[in-house]
């Protein structure tokens, strides 16, 4: 057996759930450590090796200052893999791109706090550095991760399925949620998760990104049939895929603009506190 390739994990703007999935995978598939040598994995170990060949990066890039760190990883690693929806697509973080960034900063951190927290439009890491492969999903599917590692060790280029979730859902003989009147983006979303959400009765939200042939027009018609407004449908289309839609420009299959809208009111929420008292 040739020397085990050295592997490192990194995180940017994310919930770290994808790395947690890998920690979980190591519980059931400990043999993974016979295939690769993990030299850096903040969530799982204290050592921090800087000599690695494969970098798995979780999280989107949401700060200008993160770009240097990404470029350094790129310089070191022979192979860079985007881990999960945030790194792969920009993910839910890119929803904020709808508003001018100053407004978002003010909304989240307040007038006084906004200057303390750097931010810019959220983007997938491929917008900053060259990415060799991606493992989609929020979070990633552990077996897809394992199979990708195995494929790379064989010297093969990883490849994502380019057919929709419906294929996996049908093979599991699930009742079709769209047929039951529950919105599901399965028909336009890339398979590979074994249709886990629809299997448990939740409609697909598109976290794995769109298939190359996504039929947005018909998908919109199906969702309208469930009584969803066009604004609701736009919101579903952009939940994980806002960045992609933004970069499709006028071709984006949404009824509203996905570019920053300065005047649009920010949503009201009890979670964020834009009206809080200024910090003294």
């Amino acid at each position: 057996m040739p020397a085990k390739p050295k592997v490192a994990f990194f995180d940017f703007t994310s919930c770290e759930g994808c790395q947690l999935t890998i920690v979980d995978l190591l519980q059931t598939h400990l043999g993974l450590v016979n295939l690769v040598e993990i030299v850096q994995f903040r969530e799982a170990m204290t050592e921090k090796g800087e000599d690695y060949a494969i970098a798995f990066i979780e999280g989107s890039c949401t700060r200008k200052s993160d770009e240097d760190r990404l470029r350094k990883i790129r310089e070191q690693a022979a192979v860079v893999v985007a881990l999960g929806a945030c790194a792969h697509l920009g993910g839910v973080n890119a929803m904020k791109n709808r508003w001018a960034i100053e407004n978002v900063q003010t909304y989240v951190y307040g007038e006084d706090g906004k200057a303390m927290y750097e931010s810019y439009e959220a983007r997938p890491i491929s917008a900053v550095i060259q990415v060799d492969a991606a493992i989609p999903g929020c979070p990633i599917d552990r077996f897809e991760f394992l199979h990708l590692v195995q494929k790379m060790l064989q010297g093969r280029a990883p490849k994502l399925p380019d057919y929709p979730l419906c294929v996996e859902c049908k093979l599991k003989e699930n009742a079709c949620l769209n047929k039951l009147g529950k919105p599901c983006l399965g028909p336009i979303t890339r398979a590979g998760c074994n249709a886990i959400c629809p299997t448990y009765g939740d409609g697909c939200e598109g976290c794995r990104g769109w298939i190359p042939e996504a039929n947005f027009d018909e998908m919109r018609e199906i969702l309208r049939g469930h009584g969803l407004s066009d604004a609701d449908i736009d919101a579903r289309f952009t939940m994980f895929n806002h960045y992609q839609m933004q970069h499709m420009g006028d071709d984006a299959p949404v009824t509203t603009t996905v570019s920053p809208v300065k005047d649009e009111p920010l949503p009201t929420s009890t979670f964020a506190a834009p009206q809080e008292e200024p910090v003294r």
Binding site: H29, G31, L32, N34, L35, L146, H147, Q150, L153, Q154, D162, Y163, P164, C166, V167, K170, L171, K172, E173, N174, A175, C176, N178, K179, L180, G186, P187, I188, I211, P212, E213, N215, E218, M219, E221, I222
Partner: protein, 355 residues
């Protein structure tokens, strides 16, 4: 073979008697409908059921089936050696209850596909281990069905036993010797008498008006309709609508196409080669290395599916590839249906069905 009968209330005892020695499967109620599934106790079996999402083909060609295992372990000198060991259906003897006539027609086509030319022993091993018990369709099970059009409303000769509900009794036709044995070993069945057979005849004759026709043409005209309509505009329209999700083929009782994939275990020295259901509706189905796609457009793929159903499969195997079960119509989110397509095609071609 012979015609038997047993009282309907004995069905539970029949199932109960089979359970110790057989895997018993049949239609069971699910949250939203019915599915063929394992039966642990007789009351789960629902012989009066609406069409399942997947046909019973999954017991003969599972969604994923290992064809062989392989290993690539190194010898003392560190030289890896390849070994392959085929896997044959490690299926236990199985009894499938309640197969509708449309699905039995699907099994008949499968038998031809996997036996003609090269014999597929992986299929054969499952088929041989499985008893098919049909149930006569006396009322339409689904408004999407058009079995009467497709001539699949009668049981084809693939069953081991075929049951017809004649009121207080099931009349049971033994299609095979092993089916007859299965019946006689597990339920107190009696030979049907002349008057019973007459009653069966009445029941069978009375069922036909319950079923409607949906096609504007005879099923025997579909091959020539499709030949004439190969370049119809309809395919472009359907291609625009199609989601390319493959649901229509995955739920189809006659679709049999598969992909072959290798999977490795965690050591990467051992693994399995498996076949997994594939669909001609998916983009990569006819893509070759180098990038040429022989069915690039969705229109060409939708057309290919309908051509297969209504023409190509008949040219190769002598049977139409559609059983009129209506599953693809139930599965399609954009209302692409076989009757709708064939009727629209005959309209576009301005064909009169004739008398």
């Amino acid at each position: 073979m012979s015609l038997y009968m047993f009282p309907k209330e004995k069905l539970a005892a029949f199932v109960e008697a089979l359970l110790p020695n057989y895997r018993v499967v049949g239609p069971v109620q699910t949250e939203y409908g019915y599915a063929f599934d394992d039966i642990a106790s007789p009351e789960q079996l629902q012989l009066d059921y609406t069409t399942t999402v997947l046909p019973p083909k999954k017991y003969f060609l599972p969604q994923r089936e290992v064809l062989f295992n392989f290993s690539n372990e190194a010898d003392d000198q560190g030289q890896p050696h390849l070994d392959v060991r085929p896997v044959y259906a490690d299926v236990e003897p199985t009894v499938i209850f309640g197969v509708h006539t449309c699905d039995m027609n699907g099994i008949m086509l499968y038998d031809k596909v996997f036996a003609e030319g090269y014999k597929d022993e992986h299929y054969a091993a499952r088929r041989e281990q499985t008893y098919v018990i049909g149930i006569e369709c006396l009322r339409p099970c689904d408004s999407a069905a058009f079995c009467k059009d497709m001539g699949t409303l009668t049981a084809p000769p693939v069953y081991d036993l075929h049951m017809t509900d004649v009121g207080d009794y099931y009349m049971v036709d033994a299609g095979t010797g092993r089916g007859e044995q299965l019946l006689l070993d597990h339920v107190p069945a009696t030979m049907a008498r002349k008057e019973d057979i007459q009653q069966l005849g009445h029941v069978l004759s009375a069922k036909w008006p319950n079923f409607r026709m949906r096609l504007k043409m005879s099923k025997d005209q579909t091959p020539s309709l499709l030949t004439l309509g190969y370049r119809a505009k309809l395919w472009e329209e359907l291609g625009e609508k199609c989601l390319a999700c493959g649901s229509c083929t995955n739920v189809c009782p006659t679709c049999f196409c598969f992909d072959v994939q290798d999977e490795l275990d965690i050591t990467m020295e051992n693994g399995a080669r498996a076949r997994i259901w594939d669909s001609c509706q998916l983009r990569e189905f006819a893509l070759v290395a180098g990038g040429h796609n022989f069915r690039e457009t969705k229109a060409s793929r939708v057309r290919h599916r309908v051509m297969r159903k209504g023409k190509y499969i008949k040219q190769v195997h002598g049977l139409l590839g559609c059983t009129g079960c209506g599953r693809c119509e139930r599965a399609c989110l954009v209302d692409i249906t076989i009757p709708g397509t064939l009727n629209a095609l005959s309209d576009e071609m301005q064909l009169e069905p004739g008398d």
